[in-house]
């Protein structure tokens, strides 16, 4: 059992690399947390889009059809409230999309960073070096997968956001028409049609976004594996521990 030499430059390089990998991993975790927040905003938008429809025990496609079947045009008294809730959901997602775009940019930078890491060579323990190298390789793969998922998710959400924006606009027109005309409002079939068409378009996009969810679960599992590898390396380098 030989104590670790803390002044060894090779070991310092090892620690620098470990710190870099930790920072990259932390940023990955932060993006995952941001993605959770995006999912909440997306769910709120979905809930708003299929407001008033009760969930059923039917199969996926039947459920999807039910979920996205054109809802009855809301009563005039709830138009304003529904419009505002829709605007809130759309605005919430639009801010999250900006965050998602920022995340895509950072993951591109992180991919470049992990590839540029200088792998230490020399007298450091081979098991630690191997673990670090494995971790860096795994992180590179993870960031590549993350980049792909974030990009595709962003693309899907942009379309969903655009469709939901159309719904909000149509609801705005309905609310405006109602309030300008007062109680003498006559239901406008054309406006109702605009709302229905916008919601149906959102339905298609919703399904496309759904297909990404299993991919995200896989990504989460991989992230957990990376965490285990990190803990293993930390155990090696913890002060007071010794090399085997």
């Amino acid at each position: 059992m030989t104590p670790l030499n803390t002044s060894d430059p090779a070991l310092q390089r090892l620690r620098d690399m470990l710190d870099a990998l930790d920072a990259l991993d932390d940023r990955h975790q932060a993006r995952m947390a941001m993605l959770d927040s995006v999912a909440v905003a997306e769910q709120r938008l979905r809930d708003e889009l299929h407001r008033g429809q009760t969930p059923s025990d039917a199969g996926f496609w039947a459920r999807l059809r039910t979920r996205w079947s054109p809802p009855p045009t809301p009563h005039a008294s709830e138009l304003t409230e529904r419009h505002e809730a829709m605007v809130r959901a759309v605005r919430g997602l639009s801010f999250h999309l900006v965050a998602l775009e920022g995340a895509v940019d950072t993951v591109v930078n992180d991919k470049a960073e992990v590839l540029s890491l200088a792998f230490p060579t020399g007298s450091e323990p081979s098991a630690t070096q191997q673990t670090l190298t494995d971790r860096a390789m795994a992180l590179s793969d993870l960031l590549q997968a993350e980049h792909e998922v974030l990009s595709i998710r962003h693309e899907g959400l942009v379309e969903l956001h655009t469709a939901a924006h159309d719904v909000a606009h149509a609801l705005s027109r309905q609310a405006l028409q109602h309030h300008l005309a007062g109680p003498r409002t006559v239901r406008s079939p054309a406006l109702d049609g605009v709302v229905r068409a916008a919601i149906e378009r959102a339905a298609e996009l919703h399904h496309r976004v759904d297909t990404l969810e299993s991919r995200m679960r896989q990504l989460d599992a991989e992230a957990r594996e990376r965490r285990v590898a990190k803990d293993e390396v930390e155990a090696w380098l913890r002060p007071g521990t010794s090399d085997a």
């Binding site: 932060a30 941001m34 927040s37 008294s77 138009l79 304003t80 409230e81 419009h83 505002e84 605007v87 809130r88 605005r91 919430g92 639009s94 801010f95 999250h96 900006v98 965050a99 775009e101 920022g102 995340a103 940019d105 950072t106 705005s172 609310a175 405006l176 309030h179 300008l180 007062g182 109680p183 003498r184």
Partner: protein, 291 residues
């Protein structure tokens, strides 16, 4: 495409509000002014636009103040790390959200019920409903004076008077069509008066916006029905404002008033004369940098 109002334009509307000399029949103007002032905050990606054919900000802009203020606490933790990392778009949004979260937006509806008299059989109450329907936008106060039987649609719960939900619904609806509203409300008691005070919209003037407010009153105590609203077409004004039925004892009064820049006084006089209107007009001083 409506013209984009500049920040000085919004500042001018803020200056015009107090000049309208709004009394208690209108919604309080200070919260409206604070909400309007918040429209001066630049919203990243969303230039401020006007409602078509008016000098009034677009309904989406009014609504954004309330919506974004409510979202700020949720969004800031997501955007701050990106902003700290140097992301310019996130930085702009963080600055906006931090500013908008400090604004107290207009509430959608505020009810007040005040007991003004009672005997063994009846309650006399004054009910006010402030509505800020930003999707329109409609900024109005509805004041109903009504006498109802004890134990009727208005009940006492401790020190609070509670309205039957159906009565609330009818009061809210009455604001849009006061004459018919009084008719429907009279099923619930003896209506003394129904007053609706509405702020806006604004027109584009020569040197600044002309802000208006309109007061509609329906009561048996009025001598005659009288509508003078320069924003209604004088030829068909009566058709746009629903008047009390001839067999009813109520009369309706509807008057609009204006706040215009001092330099636009002769212009507004000419315009009102052209419209056959004698609407009151007050003046306000334009903020220094208004074009």
């Amino acid at each position: 495409m409506p013209d984009a109002p500049s920040t000085p334009h919004i500042a001018a509307l803020c200056a015009a509000l107090p000049a309208l000399r709004l009394n208690h029949s209108f919604p309080p103007w200070r919260p409206i002014q604070a909400h309007l002032a918040a429209l001066q905050l630049p919203v990243p990606g969303h230039p401020l636009i006007q409602a078509p054919d008016t000098a009034w900000p677009h309904p989406d802009a009014w609504l954004r103040v309330r919506v974004d203020g409510a979202l700020a606490d949720e969004l800031l933790p997501v955007l701050r790390p990106l902003a700290a990392g140097g992301d310019a778009r996130a930085k702009a949004r963080v600055a906006y959200l931090e500013a908008i979260r400090t604004v107290v937006p207009l509430e959608e509806a505020v009810w007040q019920v005040r007991l003004i008299g009672h005997d063994t059989t009846h309650l006399r109450v004054e009910i006010t409903l402030d509505q800020h329907i930003l999707a329109a936008p409609i900024l109005r106060r509805t004041t109903l004076r009504i006498a109802t039987v004890q134990g009727g649609p208005i009940t006492e719960q401790g020190h609070t008077l509670v309205l039957d939900p159906e009565l609330e619904r009818r009061i809210a609806e009455a604001a849009a069509a006061p004459a018919r509203g009084v008719l429907r409300l009279s099923e619930w008691g003896e209506v003394e008066s129904l007053t609706v005070g509405e702020v806006g919209p604004a027109r584009n003037g020569l040197r600044g916006p002309w802000l208006s407010a309109v007061l509609t009153r329906v009561s048996e105590s009025l001598d005659r029905t009288w509508v003078d609203d320069a924003l209604l077409d004088s030829a068909s004004g009566d058709a746009l404002v629903e008047l009390p039925r001839p067999d009813r004892p109520e009369r309706l009064s509807r008057q609009r008033k204006w706040a215009v820049p001092r330099a636009d006084v002769s212009a507004v006089r000419g315009w009102l004369a052209q419209r056959g209107s004698r609407n009151l007009h007050y003046t306000y001083r334009l903020p220094r940098d208004t074009p």
